[in-house]
Symmetry: D2
């Protein structure tokens, strides 16, 4: 019953196999191999347009280099107050973008509230150099709290970006989970809704280490080859990333693993709704389930072998968690089994 | 006959197997797994002292973060004019160390000349703030041109560092090749000779992606956990690096693969010495062989299927390469076969 | 009736004279002149301890270099949400400190609420590298909204800093105005209350350009000479700053000009309290007065020749400003005359 | 007899007067005053084209921000090995341009040798991301060693820049001295010869603190307002810089002070040529004279009250300075008197 995080899992067997198959032979380094090219082509197909693909080591790198390629002096990126870039990346986005600022924007359930976003951007009027200048908006899809933006919600955010002349970045560390939840195409969830830059994550969904910046807007990213190399993020044996993505994208494996994780999360949520000793924080769209439970229940579950984390309550839950209660997070992945979920259900019934 | 680079190879079968064995199960992320701990302990054994180990994505990251942890404002790192940090890292050491400078130091055969190093440091006297201040010396072992520093040569450089109160870094992208060439212990080649910080490379010698900063001097590196995270170099599924190092270091695999690569290079050099149509640039210690040949020979070898690169001649060869000649580099690795080397020998005999 | 800002004024005649007296003769550059030394000694006397003084070009530079000298990777500076470093320095503190983050802390009347500060720091627990790490707290004295922290309030903030092991910085762009308001000594308002680093401003209070970092805590600032030079903030003809400070500090001129500005502000506030067409936002301690007025009154005052700015309402005024009203800021300085203030009083009576 | 440096002087009386005249009254801050605008217009007239002018605190800031506005990731600026940006700015150009690199280029008498520049740029081929990419060339006019580039020499350097698609920056800390030496117009010495960006210095030639970036190429510098503010280089009371420049440029004062300094240097050089106990290093064009003298003479001159510095010999003098000899630098300025020069002549005759 390991629900600690989707990055505690290993790799999907097909991905492990594909990588092993690359242990032999020689291939050009630094992304110049035929396999690297094949993955880029595959992603162009998937996104229904010519995109530029840059493998990097971590999701944090993908986010940070996305910001770096649109950096401006005194530049400000607007993101949800609980977003990964603000809460979990130790200043990497600021540092790797050359000193940019992240401005937190509030909103319920992990989604930026459009009015709050507008108000935040208005604090940086274009001619007032003292404040700085807007440089991007970043939304997380699926969000850090297991919800998703609908296509309309993405478009609304994108509209704000266009009005202010700034690009829209999507942190897609759980891109596949969002895609499976919305049942739409990658193109629809990104550039057709106004997204310019994407952090495309494979690690949480079945790879060991497969992250990429995908530049969707052909007017951006011209300096990304240099930015990535300067950030020490260009792998010499790049094909070991390519091999993972190759298997990940083949035969829709990525969508199947994401759908499985989402389904396991939905089952967990169902158990939570029927449980007496705990309650669901909110309904998940993707692969993260948040539950409010007495500390005694938390202890009992831990004792029974369930692994999960307490979580900092979002503003929307302020006053709704009792003194002896705790908000907890359960994450599912391609590796979560029905048996694990059922066992949890038995424990909380 | 692929002698393009040791990073064109894949992975040693034992390393590929070890990684595959990690595809199942859950383990704490971000370096907290038991396997991560085991590798760190193993490295403490190997280096005969408590060392701190930080996995990173690339050798460039290992070098850059080594400099970052000893960074000073206006800081200057002294390195060989042809070193990787100066010639091949696109400003990453400067950028990731917060704006440091790399000062090139001359010396024959890829080794800094101690007098030239002293003279370079003297241009930055400690009280003259206008110039900046020395912050580290970095030597490459094995060097970029296939030679090695002897233990005495390392100690001499370290003595200069101590006199100026600055740490000594070793770029060990080909650490194992140097170790095999010198037939000494890791401790002797590093801290016992005065090295404080090490970029420990496994990628070129049989791993897919296994690089680490090893902090040998216990007084340094206190902020490295934050520096690495801020540089977006902390892997979530860190155990996929750990698994590679675990197999790499087990049963001295790393020393065997390095010895093999060195031996193949020595054989190549022997062929070159006996060849009529080309000549050896200098005698290699490790796994890189440099040859001077007519462009016609270069073409003939390429046509026969040999893959290798032309190389920018070092100062010591100025005037020694004819108008129709070219300096070329041949790199061997764990994956180089005797058959490839023999075939080369036949072609140039 | 110019109440636009205290940086719209010129220079006090005694300061202009002192500078003119330095137009002749030669003196060592870069801060090595006898006059530079005399000012440093004078400041040691004033602060009743050995302090280190670093002239810089702007208050923004003083703030940013203060942060730079205590910078940590992933470092976070906590400051009031409406502070100058957050609202008006275009990312300079982040950039010049090598990528630090500024975390806004709420609090009424421009002062950080201690509980809010504690809560903000708690979001960056020392062992959780993902979030980053606290690196300083910065308070503004006098605040951006014309109030001051009492000595007890400063000590309370300093206590929080000590518990978390981080230094306390004071942005003293209006240091003299605060001092005059509190009627205490410079030592009491700084290191005796726990302040480690001070941005000491003279520009707003009668100089043309006289700003300095004053390092009060002798354990800090060792690298400041290099930090300042690297930030291009070391003046060659440093004595033109020294001359201004020399006159500024002589015969308590700085305290007199500040007391005058504060007194003019108090008079303005009195007029506001007795006015029918506008009301005081809050009672000022220093030289800034905030008034809420109908837009018609704003227009009438402007037409009559009063120069002042509308201001972004702080959170504490939310809902308290009518639809047709506007918050406005009036700033006084050494150059403000009683006649100007009286004229304002006549207009609003 | 003070020949230590042109930044040991104070201010020209007319400049001191002009500044004093600004001590009264109010004016918009941050460069928005009418006087600021007048200076910018005057510079447009002087340069015979619409230029953008940005006052900054130091020449180092002007150089660094010039590079920042053309910065590229992994970017390299090519400058003479003995240039101020490389030898005397403590890494500010690297830091303020976000991690750029300065590549030293050799050449006799302070001027980059065009072939050496070409060769240096060729080490950074545009498609080879590992090395980095050229981002600018910076030449110093007058050079650090008292010589000047002729217009043809500037044009030749500019031609190299154009072929490689990179801008040409001129470090004009002693711009007026060069102009007086060449007897040409500011337009001819800059944009008509291919210069895109200029660090325009007034401090060494009679101001206290008057430095500016002048953007000559209208396609560049769009982000300079933000870059300057982010570097903490935007003065609030900007008019105190404007007032200095206003007087500096009025009635060709700047050309007269420069011509005077050059003339004093020429006289010093004449004395050196006729002296028995020392010899001229090379013939000066501008206001710096380099002499080789026995250490005994150096001592004798010092004892007699002459202030001057020993200097690090350039490569071209290697082997030409005796064991008991020393290279020395004498700098003249607007404040140098004929009496001082005559006195020197008497001493060395």
């Amino acid at each position: 019953m390991n629900f600690a995080s989707d990055n505690w899992a290993g790799a999907h067997p097909k991905i492990a196999e594909a990588l092993s198959a690359q242990s032999q032979g020689h291939a050009p380094a630094y992304g110049a191999s035929p396999l690297d090219a094949r993955v880029e082509e595959r992603l162009c197909d998937i996104f229904e347009r010519k995109v530029a693909v840059f493998f990097v080591a971590t999701g944090t790198a993908a986010n940070s280099l996305s910001f770096a390629t649109v950096a401006r002096p005194g530049g400000v990126v607007f993101a949800h107050a609980e977003s990964h870039v603000i809460a979990d990346e130790c200043g990497a986005p600021e540092f790797l973008s050359g000193g940019g600022r992240l401005c937190p924007v509030d909103g319920a359930l992990g989604r930026m509230e459009p009015d709050a976003l507008e108000a935040a951007i208005h604090r940086y009027p274009p001619e007032f150099i003292h404040a700085g200048q807007p440089m991007a908006v970043s939304l997380t899809q699926a969000t850090e709290v297991g919800t998703t933006y609908s296509l309309d919600q993405i478009s609304e955010i994108a509209g704000i970006c266009r009005r202010h002349g700034i690009p829209l970045h999507m942190d897609g560390a759980r891109f596949a989970n969002a895609l499976a939840a919305l049942d739409c195409t990658p193109a629809e969830m990104t550039w057709k809704s106004g997204v310019d830059l994407l952090s495309f994550g494979g690690t949480k969904n079945g790879c060991w280490c497969a992250e990429a910046v995908i530049v969707l807007n052909p007017e951006l990213g011209a300096d990304m080859h240099f930015l990535r190399k300067r950030a020490a993020q260009l792998f010499s044996k790049s094909r070991f990333i390519a091999a993972q993505f190759d298997a990940y994208l083949a035969d829709d494996l990525w969508l199947q693993t994401a759908a499985h994780a989402n389904s396991m999360a939905a089952n967990l949520a169902n158990h939570a709704e029927q449980a007496s000793a705990l309650r669901l924080g909110w309904t998940p769209d993707a692969n993260e389930v948040f539950m409010i439970m007495p500390k005694a229940t938390q202890q009992k579950l831990s004792d029974a072998g369930a692994v999960f984390y307490p979580w900092h309550p979002p503003k929307s839950l302020e006053g709704k968690i009792g003194k002896d209660e705790v908000l907890t997070r359960f994450v599912t992945s391609f590796a979560t089994t029905e048996a694990e979920v059922d066992r949890f259900g038995e424990l909380v019934r």
